[in-house]
Each structure stands twice: as structure tokens, then as C-alpha cells.
Symmetry: C2
Subunit: 234 residues, 2 copies
């Protein structure tokens, strides 16, 4: 942990109950088993802007988001920052350093007041042996992440900024959102970093999409999707 002075450990708070019962990698187990896992899990909270870990740190814990959100980002060789993904409750990070006994390659930063649970390598390995279904859940999660990340890489290398922005908005919309209104979960600066462009270009492209009557900006962070099909068809 890179900033021990800043975190609050609350070993027995009820908050990490949720942590176990809520996350996909554990919540398929029964009550007794989850109770057992709770004993092995530590809960911490971070204030906005605090780092859970940074690139280069060694670590032997898996970090699971309980409440709030984490910003996972990388720095390129030339020092530019790229937002890799945003972790919402139930998602985990730190698997690279954990499973490969190596250092972190990315940064995890609290985007708001955020509480996380951490489980050590030893505890997790014991659990994986005792409950192989947990392995399967983590394998599912990781293979999905590989897919998402490769999808993103493909978009970066083959699609225009406009297309990437448009499909990001449609992704945000998700299934069966009647209102057709999406709320941007991050600043435009982070959004730009996430889709691999600059804030200026995001601003301009949003205006273009609005001019084309594909979207309508409701407020600075709320956007109404007017024409989902043509957004994907750019």
C-alpha cells in the first residue's frame, strides 16, 4: 500500500459483509461459506484522489470495490495518462501483481469516498483450493476483461474518434433504458483520456453529434440519445 497513513482500516465493520455478499466472485456461495470468507477479508476506505496502489508497487492482495469507484489508469512511456477503466462496486483489481507475484503496471485512484475489501494471496489461494467455483468466477471475469480490453484496443486502432465517442455513449445507455438519457460517470477530461483523445476534441465531437441530431445535451453531464442506430453507424 502506498499511503498507509491515509487509509482507515475498519476490520469488523459491517461494510465488508456487503463486500463479500455483493461481488460476483463470491456471492454464488452459501451463507456459511461467505461468512468464512468475511473473516479473511480486510476493509479499508479512501478519500477522493487517494491512491490504492501505484505502478511499481509490489502487492499481495486482491482489491474489491465495495462502495464508491476507482479510476484505473496507466502512464505511457512518454508520461501521458490513459484512463483504462472505472471500477464500480463488485469489480476487482490487482490480479496481475497478485497472481504473477510481480509489480502493478497501473494506478488505482479513488474517484470519490470509496471503500474496498482486500484479500491476501495466501487467503485467496486457500479459498481457490477449497472452493474451485471461485476460480471459475475469476476466470470468467478475467476472460471478459481480456475481451473488453482487446475490443478497446481494436477500436483505438481501427475507428475514428467520433465513432469511439458514439459507441461509448451507446454502451453507457445499456439495455432497456427507457429515458434514453445517459449520465457521464466521469469528467470530460477523463472521458477524453478513456476514449483516447483530447478534451477539446470531445467537446467538438459532441457538438457535431448534436448538430447531426443524434444526441441532445441536457446538462453538462447528461445526454439524451436521439438516434441510437445511426450513432453506431457513423
Amino acid at each position: 500500500m502506498s499511503n498507509e497513513n491515509q487509509l482507515k482500516k475498519n476490520g469488523c465493520s459491517p461494510s465488508h459483509q456487503g463486500c463479500v455478499s455483493m461481488v460476483p466472485i463470491f456471492n454464488h456461495l452459501d451463507e456459511v461459506q461467505m461468512e468464512e470468507i468475511m473473516q479473511t477479508v480486510q476493509s479499508y476506505s479512501f478519500k477522493k484522489g487517494e491512491l490504492i496502489y501505484r505502478a511499481g508497487d509490489t502487492s499481495n492482495v486482491l482489491t474489491i470495490v465495495n462502495k464508491g469507484s476507482l479510476r484505473i489508469y496507466r502512464l505511457s512511456e512518454s508520461g501521458k495518462e490513459q484512463l483504462v477503466r472505472v471500477l464500480k462496486p463488485g469489480a476487482f483489481t490487482g490480479e496481475l501483481a497478485l497472481f504473477n507475484e510481480t509489480v502493478h503496471e497501473n494506478y488505482a485512484e479513488a474517484m470519490e469516498e470509496t471503500s474496498v475489501c482486500q484479500i491476501t494471496r495466501e487467503s485467496l489461494e486457500k479459498l481457490l483450493i477449497k472452493y474451485p467455483s471461485i476460480s471459475l468466477k475469476i476466470l470468467q471475469a478475467l476472460s471478459t476483461r481480456v475481451d473488453e480490453s482487446e475490443h478497446q484496443a481494436t477500436q483505438f486502432s481501427t475507428e475514428s474518434t467520433e465513432q469511439r465517442l458514439a459507441s461509448y455513449l451507446v454502451d453507457l445507455l445499456g439495455e432497456g433504458n427507457e429515458s434514453m438519457i445517459v449520465t457521464l460517470p466521469m469528467t470530460k477530461k477523463d472521458l477524453a483520456s478513456y476514449i483516447g483523445t483530447t478534451p477539446e476534441t470531445v467537446s467538438r465531437k459532441l457538438k457535431e453529434l448534436e448538430d447531426m441530431k443524434l444526441i441532445k445535451r441536457i446538462s453538462s453531464s447528461r445526454i439524451k440519445i436521439l438516434d441510437e442506430d445511426n450513432l453506431l453507424f457513423l
Copy 2:
């Protein structure tokens, strides 16, 4: 399997011995255990250009490369192809469709005469329960893949084509290659697709790097690295 007529199944050939004893996810086990796994594994071979699977296919097997190489690529929404990675002996693919019981999102094509081993979901799940260390190996491999893919996405979004090409060449060089000569493992067309550019630009950038005395082209597919440090420092 998308082209059953084209593949040759050779159930009892010695080739899939190697398949098990060679791959990182199994070769830490002892002889008897590997023998057991060999019983559950099927071996197939593919000719150059044949597809092992395509996007949209359902599948319940994990495919492990035994000999030869596979080209894993994706098509973007707009139909452009992007080379995601090249699988060499010991590497595996198909985990998304396997673990998530969903369809493939990418294509796997033999780059040359290639033999693979396949293991079904049922067999693998039994093995994972019996030998949890296999889970750990797969978790290691997948978390490394997530890291590599996110690294690539970050490069796409933050680095210039020239920098991406240069760091690709340095990556190819690897550790302790005395000769400082790398051999491109794919056509320039595939290389262009892999680093997210066009063949024309690859050609031009290689010339620029040569003009800068950072590399020297020996033959069409062999390149001598003259100045590793400055290649990374572009």
C-alpha cells in the same frame, strides 16, 4: 468448429503428448497427472489460412497451440481487421467462449501448418477441481494477457505510430539477444495491423528509423537494432 471438413483429427498421435507436457498451464504437474490429461485432450491440425474458429461461433473447448502459430484477429464494427496477437506453441485461446459460455469475439487462423490440442469445458472443469494449481496457471496467463492488452490499448491512445513501431522492435529483441538482430514474425501488412497503422506508414517509418541510424534493415524480415535506448526514447 467452423470447418470440420478441413481438419484432421489424430487422436492418438504422439503430437499431443507435447501439447500437454509443453504448455505452462499443465507442465508443472507430474508425469502421471499429465498422462491423465493427455487422455482428455484432442489433437487437430490446420493448414495455412484455415480458421480454427470465427467470431460468432459457439464453442466449448480451449485451444492450445502445439506446433506452428495462430493469428488472432478482430473485425471492428466498420469491418476493418486488427491483428490482436500471434499465438506460439504453449499459448491458448478460446477462454472467453469457454468460461462465459458465450460466442467467440475474434478469429483464430493458422499462419502456417499448425497443430493444436483442444480440451472441452467438462474435462477442463474436472481438471480444475482436481488440480487447483491449473487454475492458478490460467489465472496467471489471463492476468498477464489483460496487462498486455491494456498496455497495447494505452500505446494506441497515447503514443505515435513511430513510437509504437520502435517499441515493438525492442520487444521483439527481448533480453540478452547478442546479435541485436530481430526477425519479423509476420508480414508487414500484419505488422501494420498489429500496431494500428497501414503498410505504407510502416514502410516509411522503418526508413526514417534507418535514416536516424537507430536500426539497419538486413533483409525484408530481418532488422538490426543499432540503438535500443534511443528507440524507446523517441
